[in-house]
């Protein structure tokens, strides 16, 4: 007798993702990121970058639904932006159906993240870490 094929745990359950600005929708399994599930659906309605929360290319705004978020680069998602629903799709784990707006990567801010050091440093001239404007070079 053939063994009955049973779906893996959680199979059959999925969230519906609606990307309103592209007029596309796709399915996301629990535990998958918003971006990874889009790639699995062979869609391209969200731009793919590093897939690690670093580059800002997959920036979206979540208009409705529940989700959790792994740590994202502050260069691309400042705290006030996160509160306004902006997120990087590669770090978003949907917890319900979501309605999102993609193509927010062009809003990337130009900001330098300065290195820091706990140890004191003797400084000659202006300290680059305390001086955001670049000194003119000869």
């Amino acid at each position: 007798m053939r063994e009955k094929l049973t779906p893996a745990t959680g199979a059959g359950q999925y969230f519906q993702i609606m990307v309103v600005n592209r007029g596309e929708k796709y399915r996301c399994r629990p535990g998958q990121s918003l971006l990874a599930s889009m790639e699995l659906a062979n869609s391209s309605c969200i731009n793919i970058g590093c897939r690690g929360g670093g580059c800002g290319v997959c920036k979206v705004r979540i208009l409705s639904g529940e989700y959790s978020c792994k740590r994202m680069s502050k260069t691309h998602i400042a705290e006030d932006q996160a509160e306004a629903g902006f997120a990087l799709a590669c770090r978003v784990m949907p917890l319900s159906d979501l309605t999102v707006e993609s193509d927010h990567c062009s809003e990337r801010p130009h900001r330098n993240t300065q290195f820091y050091s706990d140890s004191p440093a003797t400084t000659v001239g202006n300290n680059p870490s305390n001086n955001k404007s670049q000194r003119k070079f000869k």
Partner: protein, 307 residues
């Protein structure tokens, strides 16, 4: 090494999650974890590197590169270059010995492209990992992942790379080994060397300051690059492009991302450079072939995804 700068000595990278990053740099790339400091920074190196470390990871709220440091022949060289950097117009910061574990004092300076660089001459030498100095075996047993041989170079994006290249060539004695030139003569990519390697550091023109394109690690053979590609698939690592060959430097390569989006490269082979060689030139009209010698087509993600 016209002015006594020997090689890239270390790079400090920012990561969002240290334990995830170690799965990438230690377990996948195969770097050796050498030490950790009180700030929580982790120190690693490729197994052939004689100095104690070449990669420093720092957990932060945004990925990218803090600085890359170049090792000089002597403290006297560091002193004289420090004076020349100030004369040239750089802002110079003296970092005391020990700020990086078992590393001597460093001279840090800024650049028009918004990157920070360092010169140093002293770092503890622990020797190649896993093999002795006398009658050494070919390679150590017990390496993991891609078994990265050494930290090789980094590619940096920023504005006014001509100004940054001036610091490296006029002050630090680097040569322009390879370049990409637009029809109007504007140079949009500069690959610089202080050795016989095709690049010890490379720059591409870009409006945002201080960006990292990738940190690169050397492998011995094309077979090793293919094996790296297999490991990338086996571990579901974010692939950028490859395995393929570059036109620029002719290196055989694969690009992929660490868990917080910093791009890594492992590569083998490629061009060599001597100080009497003219720069190798690629025309911007052939940029697709210059970057991906086989596809001969530009890839938007490769050009624009940065940390």
């Amino acid at each position: 090494m016209k002015k006594g700068v020997m090689r890239p000595g270390h790079i400090q990278l920012r990561v969002l999650d240290m334990e995830e990053a170690l799965k990438h740099y230690r377990d996948l790339l195969g770097l050796i974890e050498m030490d950790r400091d009180q700030q929580g920074r982790v120190y690693l190196k490729g197994w052939t590197e004689v100095d104690k470390f070449s990669v420093v990871l720092r957990e932060a709220d945004a990925p990218g590169m803090d600085f890359v440091g170049f090792k000089c022949l002597s403290e006297d060289v560091v002193d004289s270059l420090r004076a020349e950097l100030i004369e040239f117009g750089c802002e110079v910061e003296d970092i005391p010995a020990g700020e990086l574990l078992d590393c001597g004092r460093r001279v840090r300076f800024n650049s028009p492209s918004g990157h920070y660089f360092e010169l140093f001459a002293s770092k503890q030498q622990t020797g190649k990992w896993g093999i002795g100095e006398v009658n050494p075996e070919a390679w150590p047993q017990g390496l993991t992942g891609m078994k990265a041989v050494r930290f090789d170079h980094c590619l940096l994006y920023g504005p006014n790379i001509a100004g940054t290249a001036d610091i490296f060539c006029k002050v630090l004695g680097f040569d322009l080994a390879e370049q990409v030139i637009e029809p109007d003569g504007n140079i949009i990519a500069r690959f610089l060397t202080t050795s016989s390697k095709a690049h010890d550091v490379a720059f591409i023109e870009h409006p945002e300051q201080g960006k990292l394109h990738h940190a690169s690690f050397w492998l011995e053979t094309w077979e090793d690059v293919l094996r790296a590609a297999d490991l990338i698939s086996m571990n579901d690592v974010s692939l950028d492009i490859g395995p393929t060959r570059h036109g620029l430097t002719h290196g055989k390569t694969i690009y992929f991302f660490d868990p917080c989006g910093n791009r890594s490269e492992v590569f083998c082979g490629g061009d060599y450079h001597y100080p009497d060689h003219p720069p190798v030139t690629w025309q911007a009209e052939q940029l697709g072939k210059a970057i991906f010698y086989h596809d001969r087509q530009l890839n938007e993600r490769f050009l624009t995804v940065l940390t």
